[in-house]
Amino acid sequence: MRSARLDRPTAFEPDHPDDDATTLTAVTVMVGGRRRPRRAVDALDLDLGVGVHGLLGPNGAGKTTLMRVLATVLEPTRGQVRLLGRDVTEARARRQVRRRLGYLPQTFGYYPRFTVREFVTYFAWLKEMPSEGSALAVDDAIERVGLSDRADSPMRTLSGGMLRRAGLAQALVNRPELLLLDEPTAGLDPEQRLDFRVLLRELGLDTTVVVSTHLVEDVASACTRVALMDVGRLVHTGTPTSLESFVNESDPVEDPREEGSSALERGYTAALRAHRARITADAKATR
């Protein structure tokens, strides 16, 4: 994976010149239709700046729904979404933001007739990149994810990890300013995971990267910030080491399952437990 980067396209003006932050304000997303409505994201506030943000949380916490809202593919039921300084409820602003966005969804398949290069070229075209620079950008993206030797292989011949890297190349091709990766390390072998973390750290220097994951070690090694979610709410935000402060070392009740886990993993479970205990206490108090 190479460190050289091509210049980004310009001509993007946020509403306020200095405000290109990504902010969610009181965002609520109801999913499941009218019959079984469920709050996947519940009055959530979030501020994101340049750097790698790890979005942690158990299954069903609402991570994917939140990623979809950030990717502009899901409209929140309530609340305001400002991406790169733009309110994306307006169609024109949404389209401008989408040019500067990279999104790797959690689930995907492949186009059987497309090669990796054709697939990434397709996305360069969908992202409205000028055609003269797109061939270089496509090659650059494929190289960054380490798929150059398979660039002309049909996608159906790729392994799961390679397919995910092809998906990552698609997300990177327009050199996004907001990069959203939903479970990007699933299916990668340990060596590829190390390469991926190097890439993440490099991207985080000038890009707002949000990585949803359930692997605490991904967060420890590559993220500058961490946001912990549980049942649609934000439990904790801070640096990865700030999670460790939730562990009470003098606490005599040690879960035997936690033996051999890292300080960060123990912090993760401790923060979740503390949050759930608080919720239960609040519920009792209001009853």
């Binding site: 109801m30 994917t64 502009t72 169609a91 989408r98 790797l104 496509v138």
Partner: protein, 292 residues
């Protein structure tokens, strides 16, 4: 930037032939690095063996470069491939071919002298729906979510794809009609466009694949209704009867009055489509439950 002074022809010739001394060669090299004019002069001053050697070294260097350093512009897929899946167009042609062949087979199979081509009249207006359903960025697109996050997602991309489908469906249906002794697109064009627009408008409420299926089914049932009633609800008998007897003059759906209705339907559906166009840029909220 080229410097103010330049190497003399004698100096260049001496350097090119390797006859200049070490100090003079270094100073010439230092100058050549920054002066494109003298580099051009040097290229002219070179003699054949050196020139061949340089070409050889250059070729060897380029060959060792990793492949990705050279953008492979030839691999850019043609626009049609970017616009939609070839399968969608093949399905359109296949549907048309099956309808024509079945109609011809039934004509041959009967001893009566019939020239009905009802299957063509049945299939043609609904033909674009087959292609539109297959090329939509819908539930079956494996990269639907990632595509929806791009600026191209939405009505514009859908209309481009619909236009490509129509560009294949309309001429091929016209040719099939001429081959079967038909009058061409005059009468089925408006119903066909109306059905396509209705499916696109309906696709803002339910998935486009389902919208196209619902519209096509409604059209087929409506067209076959007289035959279905007379055959007592037997679908294959009704199809055969429709194929052998129906033509544009016997079908009320193609009559002059009906054409006005089709135009109105198309305009109404177009209005709905434009008003609700943003639903093609987002995931439906109910679908957000699949993986949380």
């Amino acid at each position: 930037m080229n410097p103010e002074w330049h190497l003399s022809p004698a100096q260049l010739a001496g350097y090119a032939n390797g006859e200049s001394g070490a100090t003079e060669a270094w100073s010439a090299e230092a100058h050549l690095v920054g002066c494109s004019l003298c580099r051009a002069e040097l290229a002219l001053a070179l003699r054949e063996p050196q020139r061949a050697a340089i070409v050889e070294v250059r070729g060897a260097l380029l060959a060792t470069l990793p492949a990705q350093a050279r953008p492979a512009s030839h691999s850019m897929p043609p626009l049609a491939r970017l616009v939609l899946r070839p399968a969608a167009l093949l399905a359109v042609l296949l549907t048309l071919a099956v309808a024509v062949l079945l109609n011809l087979a039934w004509q041959q199979g009967t001893h009566l002298d019939v020239t009905g081509n009802g299957l063509l009249w049945l299939v043609t207006p609904a033909l674009p729906l087959v292609g539109v359903a297959l090329c939509a960025v819908g539930e079956h697109d494996p990269w639907r979510e990632a595509i929806l996050a791009t600026p191209s997602a939405g009505l514009r991309l859908l209309l481009w794809r619909t236009a490509v489908v129509l560009a294949v469906a309309l001429p091929s249906a016209t040719l099939a009609g001429l081959a079967l002794g038909n009058v061409g697109p005059g009468l089925w064009l408006l119903p066909g466009l109306a059905l396509t627009t209705v499916a696109l408008a309906l696709g803002t409420l339910i998935s486009l694949e389902r919208a196209a299926a619902v519209t096509a089914t409604a059209w087929c049932v409506g067209s076959l209704l007289p035959a279905l009633v007379s055959s007592g609800g037997n679908v294959s008998t009704a199809l055969r009867q429709h194929a052998l007897t129906a033509s544009y003059s016997t079908t009320t759906l193609f009559s002059g009055a009906a054409q006005g209705v089709w135009a109105g339907v198309a305009l109404a559906a177009l209005a709905v489509l434009v008003l609700r166009r943003h639903s093609y840029e987002r995931l439906p909220r109910a679908a957000g439950t699949r993986s949380a």
